[in-house]
Symmetry: C2
């Protein structure tokens, strides 16, 4: 079972104060890049894996999706998602994405934001998603970038010019990483870029687009702290289409 | 025109002593990974962009390729490639890959080793290659990894545990990088992983496989210095297939 850090009181208290939770999608600097990668949602049945408070689930219904099924491990998050949603075509369920089995050929889109790096078995997950998608269905997800995740001590350092610099080590050594983020010992799983891409291709997906989030100049004017995101990518955004059933 | 560093006497003298030049493909630690990504060569017409001394061109003919056309900017390298090759089905030409125009639909495989990071206009190059390939033709290339290229000062540093660590900054700022490698001011072009992948997809390629070279345990036993390559990838290997003509 995946670690349920989101129901740890200290973590939940801190996490709930992030702009992406208090003001929603507009508080997530990568959202406009994600939006540009989404297919037309009109009439689609969508699964939202790691739906959190349901911000994206509601947005997709407001953009003509037929239905959204949101899943999250966190009872706190699902409870608030239900409280904040008045829409019969959105359902929320407490579920561990690590072991979740979606019904077959049931969705035209599977969406997931910043969840897959908590999943140990990415291969199983991607094959399960492929089976859950209809023919030519889309998978769009965001994940922490392997450059951001790899190092034993992932924090800013300063180079000889005084420039903010990100350390990379252990890049090729995949697996568990423990970091302190609102709580001690948050468990994440580092995978190389190649593993992420090859796992998708191996499960029958055709890669459509990859983005490594970098802020736009206008975003940096509004939120100067975002400038450091130009130094190293924190997030990877991936869009892939089911080309054939997984073997 | 691309910088012709390979005909700089100092550079050429140093470069020529690298194992990958003195003993050939077996001196390149990534070669077995490259070999695994190559399609069946039997009867194929191949272009080798940045062929250097012709090691790969000759290997491909020894593995049943019908013909190989090798191109390199360096007069020194093409002169030695010609001297070392006795095979009517291999031709070598001095050419700047930056501006090279291959004949249309003439090759079943375009191969390139550690050359594309010297090319400023990757979009033009990839569209040209797509046109030069037959339907479902393959492009297999290796390139310096963007993690290796990005930083203003790309050299090992030591983290708080004394571990070899690679600095990343300026990752999202693409373009020229100048480094000292056998000579001063060698010009290379940094592109993000996403740009490389999206440029290929945009030119009608379907991504087949990506590798970020990491040494195998047996290689590390033989050449202990290779161990540091586990800390950060130096090379990216890409295999893509022409799915449709470029727009």
């Amino acid at each position: 079972m995946a670690q349920n850090i989101y129901d740890h009181p200290e973590f939940f208290a801190g996490y709930s104060q992030l702009p992406r939770q208090t003001i929603g999608l507009d508080g997530a600097p990568e959202w406009s890049a994600v939006e540009a990668m989404l297919p037309d949602l009109n009439g689609k049945h969508i699964a939202d894996l790691g739906c959190g408070f349901g911000w994206a689930s509601r947005w997709m219904r407001e953009h003509s999706a037929a239905s959204v099924l949101g899943f999250d491990l966190s009872q706190n998050m699902i409870a608030r998602a239900k409280r904040d949603t008045a829409d019969q075509a959105i359902e929320y369920h407490i579920a561990d994405i690590e072991t979740l089995d979606l019904p077959q050929s049931a969705f035209e889109l599977v969406y997931s934001a910043l969840t897959f790096h908590y999943i140990a078995d990415f291969g199983r997950l991607v094959r399960m998603i492929s089976k859950a998608l209809t023919a030519a269905g889309d998978l769009v997800f965001t994940i922490e970038h392997p450059i951001f995740m790899a190092a034993a001590h992932p924090h800013w350092i300063i180079d000889e010019d005084g420039r903010k610099t990100w350390p990379v080590n252990g890049y090729s050594v995949e697996g568990e990483r423990r970091t302190d983020w609102f709580a001690k010992n948050v468990v994440k799983y580092h995978r190389t870029f190649a593993t992420t891409i090859n796992t998708l291709i191996g499960a029958g997906f055709e890669l459509q687009r990859v983005e490594e989030f970098a802020p736009m100049p206008a975003q940096i004017v509004r939120i100067p702290e975002l400038r450091e995101e130009l130094e190293r990518p924190m997030m990877m955004l991936v869009s892939a289409r089911k080309a054939k059933p997984p073997e």
